[in-house]
């Protein structure tokens, strides 16, 4: 049974400026009782406010909302990277994330070496990675490029590599932020079959995007975020957005 349940989750975090990240400044403040400066230098941002949602087996969730509405924060909270300031989160299932292009890659190492490393970082074993290697090779279509350092790859090639690795062993929970749209059209077409298979084999899929076409194709539930407040919307709303 795979599920993610958030109960009254609030995520608040400080954004520090140069003053707040200076220990010298803090020592000065302590030493002078704050008389020389009372500028703390941190702004608190409430990125998620009292979010209560329950994502169950079979849910394909689409997240919509403006830039800065809290979509990425919600995804990271679902992944367990951000811990709620308030509220509780319950989660069961192996998670795979595709958030930022190049995450966990060492640009100096070859594609092959990076495939193994990323697999290990994602919690897979070397045996699992070696078993998945032929399929990854085929999907990335990178051919001999896989033997070259990743720093020589274009953004599209890097995305293909990341996507192939993140989906090498189907996760129970797949969290994707935006970047699915990358890659050229031939990869898009091949990836499409894989994405469809992945999404149908993953028990839970959560996807943040601005592309209503992609959202409609992959998702069956939709949440709209607005200044950190979440509301479930019907698919008509997404259609109406164009």
């Amino acid at each position: 049974m795979t599920f993610i349940r958030l109960d009254n989750v609030t995520v608040r975090y400080p954004i520090f400026n140069a003053r707040a990240t200076s220990i010298r400044h803090h020592l000065l403040n302590i030493g002078t009782g704050g008389r020389l400066s009372n500028d703390v230098g941190a702004v608190n941002v409430t990125a998620l406010r009292d979010v209560t949602i329950s994502i169950e087996n079979g849910d394909r969730v689409g997240l919509i909302g403006h830039n800065g509405a809290g979509k990425s924060t919600l995804l990271r909270t679902l992944a367990g990277i951000y811990v709620p300031t308030k509220g509780t989160i319950e989660r069961r299932g192996r998670i795979s994330t595709i958030f930022e292009v190049g995450a966990g890659l060492d640009p100096e190492l070859s594609g092959y070496e990076n495939i193994r490393r990323m697999g290990l970082l994602m919690g897979l074993s070397l045996a699992q990675m070696d078993a998945a290697l032929p399929e990854i090779e085929e999907l990335t279509e990178l051919g001999n490029f896989l033997a070259l350092p990743v720093r020589t790859y274009s953004a599209g090639m890097t995305t293909r590599l990341m996507f192939a690795v993140a989906t090498a062993v189907p996760p129970e929970i797949l969290l994707v932020d935006e970047i699915l749209g990358a890659g050229d059209s031939s990869f898009q077409k091949r990836a499409q079959a894989r994405i469809d298979r992945m999404i149908s084999s993953a028990s839970i899929f959560v996807f943040a995007s601005h592309s209503n076409e992609l959202l409609r194709r992959h998702c069956n539930r939709f949440f709209e975020l607005h200044h950190g407040v979440i509301t479930e919307v019907s698919s008509d709303v997404v259609s109406a957005l164009g």
């Binding site: 220990i23 990277i81 998670i95 190492l109 290990l120």
Partner: protein, 265 residues
Amino acid sequence: MSVTPFLRGLDDVRRTFGKAPVIVYLAISDTKARYIRSLIGPFWPVLGNAIGILGLGAVWTALLGLSASQYIPSLAVGLVIWQLISGCISDSPGLIGRKAMIIRNIEFPLTFFPLSTVAGHLVNFTHSLLIVIAVFLIYPQPTTPTLILISVAGLILTLVNLLWFATILAIVGARYRDVEPAIISSLPLLFLLSPVLFRAEQLPFGASIIWFNPVTYAITAIREPLLGMLPNPSIYAGLAVTALMGWTLMLAVVGKWSKRVPFWI
């Protein structure tokens, strides 16, 4: 202080140990990558060390009026230990920032990163040991198997201490960005105050200030037995007590702050 952060920190370390195969794999693959990139790979710094020992050895034996057979082994061991310690310390404050891409994208125990850093420096250290072996073949020292075991115990105590210190430095360095330049600029001073170029015993009475420097304990605990002398047992006791207190502090710091770290980077 409540006990909960401590337990959370303990859980973080437990999960890191669960990922021990990953740490070993990364350390090995990093080393391999360095062999691929250049013919003698990790031995480049070793070669630099060897030249350093020759040069410093020549100057300091003349300056201190010591015999090369006494001074050069002490210098070689001292330098190799110093590189292990200073490498771990200088890599730590900026560590979290360098691993930001992983931390922001994959849920990971925080102590994994300092542990891999120390593991990486341990690999370098084992490469450098070849110089020490070469020096000891040229200038044999009156050491015994028992004394070598005591030296290994000193090394293990040093590593255990480096782990907690590197972890705290990594967390503090992630929050306060000026810690890294501060640490790196004070390392050369620490080098001069550490018994690398000399032995603590060679200092005149009154130079006991050197024992306020924790590095003195580490170097003495590892080096003296290799030179055939048994240091004061209180040195090992001191290292063990520091390790115990440091780990307690580190676990509490990890438990309290590790989950805030992703917001800082």
